[in-house]
């Protein structure tokens, strides 16, 4: 029993780490631009399918390296053409637009690659279980977690030490002042969007290796990312990190005792948080609410 519990906690942490990767990208875009990017799951799908399309030529490692930046470039174009005109308008409009965009991405993926799932080959040494007795966790899952940690570390370095990152953080707090200081806010938003989409693309490649590829794979992963953000507190990236891990573990542990509720429990968690601490775990009152 203890072993099973331990296994599910570990598993939950792994799944949670994955939610974190999605949610951080969403959170970045939400914090700076006030845009709920409904198409985030769509960009995950794009990242996955780009990796699938280029992996015959560049291999798994090449795909892992190239697919996220390519996805980010697509994100940059989308931001320029579709989302930029909506800044300063009611957030309702960007929500609806990305909502429609998510429809289109899903349907076009189905149109191009077919509705059937596609396998995505991962290197053989990663596909093996680490130990047959203790945990049936494959090397790939640990690799996923490692990649998530690398991505988070890089994001931290970017936000903490680079000029771009410092401006992003300042813009999150007070975009008007940042603009008044002569910083190109449009460019800042574009780059920030691209960073968020880069993370979605990376999630797509990693998810493809674990679950295979399907045109609808983004939709199911979007909602837990939303909840990770709400639980952690809107406006706080560390909050998103903790929120993602927390809901991963919560649903992992629930799977042991009451499997049917493993999906519902994250909503219960969210309700409890909203009741006891409406701003979320790390959110600041009055910032977004």
């Amino acid at each position: 029993m203890t072993l099973l519990l331990l296994f599910n906690i570990t598993n939950g942490l792994i799944v949670g780490a994955f939610y974190v990767l999605m949610a951080l990208g969403l959170s970045l875009i939400l914090n700076l631009s006030n845009v709920i990017n409904f198409a985030h799951g769509g960009f995950l799908v794009i990242g996955g399918y780009i990796a699938y399309a280029i992996s015959p030529y560049v291999g798994f490692w090449g795909a892992l390296l190239l697919a996220p930046p390519l996805t980010a470039v697509i994100g940059l174009v989308v931001e320029r053409v579709l989302i930029r005109p909506l800044y300063g308008r009611d957030p309702l409009y960007s929500l609806l637009l990305t909502f429609g965009l998510a429809f289109m991405i899903e349907d076009l993926t189905r149109f191009i690659f077919g509705p059937q799932g596609k396998p995505f080959a991962i290197p053989a040494f990663l596909a093996q279980p680490l130990s047959n007795e203790l945990f049936f966790i494959t090397g790939y899952r640990l690799f996923m977690v490692a990649m998530v940690f690398v991505a988070i570390a890089l994001l931290f370095v970017l936000l903490r030490y680079t000029r771009l990152g410092i401006r992003i953080r300042a813009g999150t707090l007070d975009l008007e002042t940042v603009a008044a200081l002569g910083i190109n806010v449009r460019l800042l938003r574009s780059l920030n969007f691209a960073v968020g989409i880069f993370l979605a693309g990376l999630s797509g490649v990693l998810a493809a290796g674990q679950l295979g590829l399907e045109p609808t794979m983004g939709t199911g992963l979007l909602m837990p990312s939303f909840i990770a953000i709400i639980v952690g507190g809107i406006g706080s990236l560390p909050g998103t990190l903790v929120g993602g891990l927390l809901i991963g573990v919560a649903s992992g542990v629930t799977a042991v005792f009451f499997p049917a509720a493993s999906e519902a429990v994250i909503y219960v968690l969210m309700a409890v948080i909203l009741l006891t601490r409406p701003r979320g775990l790390f959110g600041e009152e009055g910032m977004m609410g």
Binding site: P85, P91, L92, Y93, L101, F103, I230, A264, M270
Partner: protein, 317 residues
Amino acid sequence: MTAASSRKLIVLAAIWVVLLLAPYWMAPLGGYTALATRVLVLGLAAMSVNFLLGFTGVLSFGHAAWFGLGAYGAGLTLKYLALSTPLAVIAGMLLGGLCGAILGTLLVRRRGVYFAMVTIAFGQVFYYIAFQWSSLTGGDDGLRGFARQPLDFGLFKLDILSDANIFYYFVLVCFALVVGTMGFILRSPFGRTMIAIRENERRARFLGIPVERHIWIAFTLSCFFMGFAGALYALVNNFADPRGLHYSQSGDFVMMAVMGGMRSFWGPLLGAAVFVVLQDYLSSITVNWMSFVGLLFILVVLFFPRGLLGFFQRSKA
């Protein structure tokens, strides 16, 4: 009577004439009565969303949950409790409205994007319940095995089950009741307060208006309307579907409201008509209709953000 108010009356009369005669002009135009019934029900849902969105300025992106709960409430009542159409509609409305009222207490302090996100997430709870609780709801296959019942008035019976036209008029009467209630509320001091909150929440607060309580009441009312529309929808299809609770359905409702014109009372009905007919048409000619619906979302947001009615009003001015 001023020119503006008499023009308003003429428009109002025209809308009702069009609705009353729908079964007669739909068919020659290539439509069918059931399509008109669906437009009416989905239009009612879009108007309920807009009651909150357009007149209180609060964006709920999870309203499909109350719609779907209304549908399940009506379906389950007909299947297990009582073979009565009015009871089913009332049960559906109560289920959607009461669940909305309870969750509303958790939501009212949130604003803007935060409110939207929390409503999406909570809406999904009901989707999962409908999806997982197969023994009661039929799970992914939806709830089947019930049908709307003829209305028995003692002296005479109305066969709304097999006669599409009579059913249309039944739905139209229900529609008129709810829309009348909505209009009455919006014209009351409470409705004016809702609009004041939309225009300037801070000022409304300074005037001593309990903003949270007003938003909660508006939210709850809109959930009841939504549950009512959902119950009617279950009667239209004799079927309730978990996808009716999904957030993508909420997106459709918001889209109908925006496409028709959020700031106008009748806009969402127009939006629903365009949306339903277009979707019906697109899905009959192409399997990739989702792309076209997505494209429609993008085009409306970029080029017609004030909706069809807003667009016409501006070009007239």
